[in-house]
């Protein structure tokens, strides 16, 4: 027993050595990456900020109307955005939206092709599964530390952490959708002369689309759930006032920022969800 505790396996030290080695070898690369991503996000936030908030709300409403043609949804979104504006969280909301949308965009960009590849190659999914489990279960703060070291303070470590946490959803659901395409549809595709790529684009992806859309919706929700943690490493957004309120035991600020986060979550969920369900029907 003593022997066992005295000879500790230096797992933590190894990890630290690995991160040190990464910084030494690719520090410049990570700095550059960090710089580029930070600038893109800042540019997006600044652009939206330049437009008067009421005009932005109007543009969002027009977009939602064309997507869903639902008066109820329109009224809800209009009221929510006006309330956020009134509470004084407009800038933070824009920052959060940009962060969530960028994280989702990158997750989908990587996750959907990976999900398709995994569905076609069982060995790849066997390899991916423990990694995905790890990414979803490991406490966020644990990988927040190395991302902080690698990317510095700001939007980027928040974005990277968000992607690590949220990317499993599009991968899993794309995998599920593509591997669950009814075999008779695959057979029909082949029997009518599909090539491999035609089979993917004309049969497998359309058949898997409801699942893929569910993956995107989930990805957005998971990204949003990371805003407070992203704020800890310096990403601006609705998480910041929550953290500030926690530090100063400010009930009113915490409640207002919390309400804003909830409203953003419900709006994004409704906009995405009914889109995917109307496609099914």
């Amino acid at each position: 027993m003593n022997w066992l505790t005295e000879h500790k396996i230096p797992l933590g030290d190894w990890m630290e050595l690995f991160v040190d080695w990464l910084i030494e070898v690719a520090g410049g690369f990570f700095d550059l990456l960090s710089e580029v991503i930070e600038n893109i996000i800042l540019f997006l936030v600044d652009t939206i900020e330049m437009v008067p908030p009421l005009l932005v709300i109007a543009i969002i409403l027009v977009g939602v109307w064309f997507l869903h043609r639902s008066i109820g949804l329109l009224v809800f979104i209009c009221a929510s955005l006006l309330l956020i504006l009134n509470l004084g969280y407009w800038l933070e909301t824009v920052q959060t939206l940009v962060l969530v949308v960028s994280a989702t965009f990158i997750s989908v960009l990587i996750g959907v092709p990976l999900g398709i590849a995994a569905a076609h190659r069982p060995w790849l999914y066997t390899m991916l599964r423990p990694i995905l489990d790890l990414m979803q279960t490991i406490p966020t703060f644990v990988y927040l530390i190395p991302t902080l070291i690698l990317f510095g303070l700001g939007y980027v470590p928040g974005l990277i952490s968000t992607i690590i946490f949220a990317i499993a959803a599009p991968i899993r659901l794309t995998y599920l959708g593509v591997s669950k395409v009814p075999s008779e549809l695959i057979e029909a595709g082949l029997a009518f002369g599909c090539t491999k790529s035609k089979l993917l684009y004309k049969v497998e992806l359309p058949a898997a689309m409801p699942n893929i859309m569910a993956g995107v919706t989930q990805c957005i929700m998971l990204s949003l759930s990371m805003v407070v943690i992203a704020a800890l490493v310096g990403a601006d957004g609705l998480g910041k006032p929550v953290i500030r309120a926690l530090n100063t035991v400010n009930i009113s600020q915490g409640f207002e920022a919390g309400i804003a986060i909830v409203l953003v979550a419900i709006m994004l969920d409704r906009i995405c969800k009914s889109r995917s369900s109307s496609k099914e029907g």
């Binding site: 009814p182 008779e184 057979e187 029997a191 009518f192 002369g193 599909c194 049969v203 359309p206 058949a207």
Partner: protein, 400 residues
Amino acid sequence: MSVVSIKNLDVVFGDNQAETLELMDEGKNREQILGATGDVVGVQNANLDINEGEICVLMGLSGSGKSTLLRVVNGLNTAARGQCLVRNGDEMVDMTSCSEATLRHMRTHRVSMVFQSFALMPWLSVLDNVAFGLEMQGMSKADRQTKAMQQLEMVGLEQWAHKKPDELSGGMRQRVGLARAFAMDTDVLLMDEPFSALDPLIRSQLQDELIELQKKLNKTIIFVSHDLDEALKIGSKIAIMESANIVQQDIPEKIVLNPATKYVERFVAHTNPLNVLKGDSLMTPISALSQVSAEPQDKSSAYSLTNLTIQVDEKGQLQSATDNNGTVTITEYITGFDVNSLTTSDVVVAPADIAMRDAVEIRYQTKRPVLLQRAGRFVGILDDHDFYHALLGKHFSSTT
């Protein structure tokens, strides 16, 4: 020349194909091979030729390998050994060994398929579903929509063109499946239990429609079914499969009359012979009739039946018929004859290949036996005994 020709074809599912083939050659059966190598024998040594315009029905219980064999013809299943030749213009292409490109050419231009579960793409409109294969042929959008619309008109669904498949009933969906396959203009059509998922009335309606379409289009059709009545109705040739083997292949009537094995016999016992059997395979032949005092000076003869005596001259032609009340008119039956106009004062002479259903109808109207002739010569009669014989399925049973 045959359009599809299957030669010594074996299909094996599993990873130990070489070993399995060896065991098959040693004469081991399916269960023994499954136990020894873990492989499943799908089809064993199949030989089948299908000619142009034929509807060949592959019949058997589920798991007998009929769908497996069908799927070899368009390359959805690969063969372990043997050939499956399909006509491509003037040459025959072996679907088991051709290149990817050839396979795709065959699928887009020579062989199309209808599925049991319809296999329509739920996200495409009915029209786009019918146009699906045309898109794979590389046809332009406008052309394929026009053509798909024509096919929909052919199956009577043009008003449903812009609906989604799930808004249609089962029967309509399978019509879309038929239209999609017919749109390809292929010579060969594979149909994998296309009507099995439909309710009986719709099924028989679609069978009739298929028979009508076939008259116009003259395709070569391979049709999988587990229902012998369906096979007898639409098939011009039936191949019966039992645990991976073709146990008998023949024209429908021969299958019903001479089942090769107990297995086939069991199938046949559950069918309605009225639709299949022809008069001459059931009749009491002339040699078995009781002859009355033939007069030696002429070569004519007379036969005595129940309540009826018939005279036949030396060429074998029917001369006259008499009963207790005197001479009876002999009416000649030809296909399409209105049986309801017959009365009890008629006696009917019909061609020997009359369908049994028609013969029963005549018997019912005239209350007399039906006389049969072939090429002008009297060959036999159909009487109650013959009908009961057929209806009870005694014509093939070894116990008679």
